[in-house]
């Protein structure tokens, strides 16, 4: 049951061009830095990336955008990235914008074997265009579909060889659901600990959802807006 691979390069070795991949993180918080760096050094292209955001120009998914490795982004918010903007306006890049809660739930549903469900978000807006609308309890809802991906790449604070994961603070965000929704899920962790060391009551992502795991290194953990009270 040992799912450990040596490093990011080995972890992403199976990923082919034109794959659909989910990448955890909110802004730059909790993103799988090592795997993104390895992807940016590969010649994989034509990727469809499902990620809440698109990184910044020189970090996170911005690195893959710069190298034109991404064909389409599925996100809720893509600001803070001028290269993204350029490619979008020039038509080089497609983007699908999805309300954040709907995106999170679609990913969970995909991982949980729920093909479709109804939510109120987006009713009466352009997000509802072309979607089935149905009233429940006097309120209009849209039919939304579960999302899965060929690969999900997530980042956790702690992990073990079985693939059990524990996140830190708000770095959990999309990682937990994405781990559920990847046909192959790759986890990179700040601390890979021996099996049995994680308290089974505290595990966020049970190992059944994870296929490969590796000890990450040299985490930069860049912060978009450092705000302090002093």
């Amino acid at each position: 049951m040992d799912k450990i691979v040596k490093n990011a390069q080995e972890a992403i070795a199976e990923i082919k061009s034109n794959s659909t991949i989910m990448l955890g993180g909110f802004g730059l918080c909790g993103i799988p830095e090592n795997s993104i760096n390895a992807l940016s050094k590969s010649d994989i292209s034509g990727l469809i990336c499902i990620s809440n955001n698109a990184g910044v120009d020189d970090f996170g998914l911005g690195l893959l955008l710069k190298k034109h490795q991404i064909r389409k982004m599925i996100s809720s918010y893509v600001g803070e990235n001028s290269e993204f903007e350029r490619q979008l306006l020039s038509g080089e890049l497609e983007v699908d914008l999805i309300p954040q809660g709907t995106l999170a739930e679609r990913i969970r549903a995909g991982g949980a074997g729920i093909p479709a469900f109804y939510v109120p978000a987006g009713y009466g807006t352009e997000v509802a265009e072309g979607k089935e609308i149905r009233e429940f309890n006097g309120k209009m809802h849209l039919l939304e579909y579960g999302l899965t991906a060929d690969f999900a790449i997530v980042k956790a604070k702690y992990g073990d060889a079985y693939g059990n994961l524990i996140y830190n603070e708000t770095a959990n965000n999309f990682n937990n659901m994405m781990a559920m929704a990847g046909k192959i899920t790759i986890a990179e962790v700040e601390e890979l600990v021996p099996v049995g060391e994680l308290n089974p009551n505290h595990i966020h992502t049970p190992g059944i959802f994870v296929q490969k795991i590796f000890q990450g290194k040299d985490y930069e953990k860049r912060i978009e807006f450092i705000t302090t009270r002093d």
Binding site: T125, K221, I226
Partner: protein
């Protein structure tokens, strides 16, 4: 005298009730946290996965793993909880958040809100705004009464792409507190020194004015 951003935030803070769970959007809404009345305890929810937002950190406390939905570094209060995005929006969609405060470009008489997209300008995305407005039990919009060109932002119909329909309950602007009623906007309070006439002139939609309109107490 019309209110500045902090004035708007202060007035909105008066809407907070003890025990409320509150989601504050980016911009003016974030400032509301600075004016929570004494004796009122509220817990702030951040849709990226935190219940119990604290103050900004000291330089030593800064953690890259601990940010708010505006991607600013924050702290967590004692008694806080972290969770994933699906759980976070379960709180929002499930009606567990008592009050949502957010900014807007436009609000209509019927409570429609436009806040995420301006045709011709780069579209950054709706983030969690559509989820919040579709499900929050109580939504207050914090915004200027008019745009930079002096045009009203309280309209008969929104002209910009919508974020949600029939959802806003109350608007607090630099000029007034306005409620959304079945019959249109209803003036509730005036900013100190601002006349009903000025507010009427700055409101494109139908504005109901009944009896004496008190000044805000800031």
């Amino acid at each position: 005298m019309s209110l500045d951003k902090n004035g708007i935030a202060k007035r909105i803070a008066q809407e907070l009730k003890n025990g409320y769970y509150v989601n504050l959007g980016i911009g003016i809404p974030t400032l509301v946290a600075n004016y929570i009345p004494e004796g009122v305890e509220v817990i702030l929810q951040s849709e990226n996965g935190l219940l119990g937002i604290g103050t900004f950190p000291t330089k030593e406390e800064v953690s890259a793993d601990l940010i708010n939905a505006g991607k600013q570094t924050v702290t967590a209060i004692p008694g806080a909880a972290f969770f994933d995005s699906a759980t976070s929006f379960a709180m929002i969609r499930g009606g567990h958040v008592d009050l949502t405060v957010l900014g807007a470009f436009e609000v209509s008489e019927e409570g429609d809100i436009a806040s995420w997209k301006i045709p011709g300008k780069m579209v950054k995305g709706m983030g969690g705004a559509m989820d919040l407005v579709a499900s929050a039990k109580n939504i207050i919009v914090a915004m200027q009464h008019t745009n930079r060109k002096g045009e009203s932002k309280l309209l008969k119909k929104c002209s910009l792409p919508l974020t949600g329909v029939s959802c806003v309950k109350r608007i607090v602007t630099n000029l007034a507190v306005v409620d959304i009623t079945e019959n249109g906007f209803k003036l509730i309070e005036r900013a100190p020194g601002v006349s009903v006439e000025e507010i009427k002139n700055a409101t494109e939609g139908k504005l109901i004015v009944e009896g004496d309109i008190p000044e805000m107490k800031i």
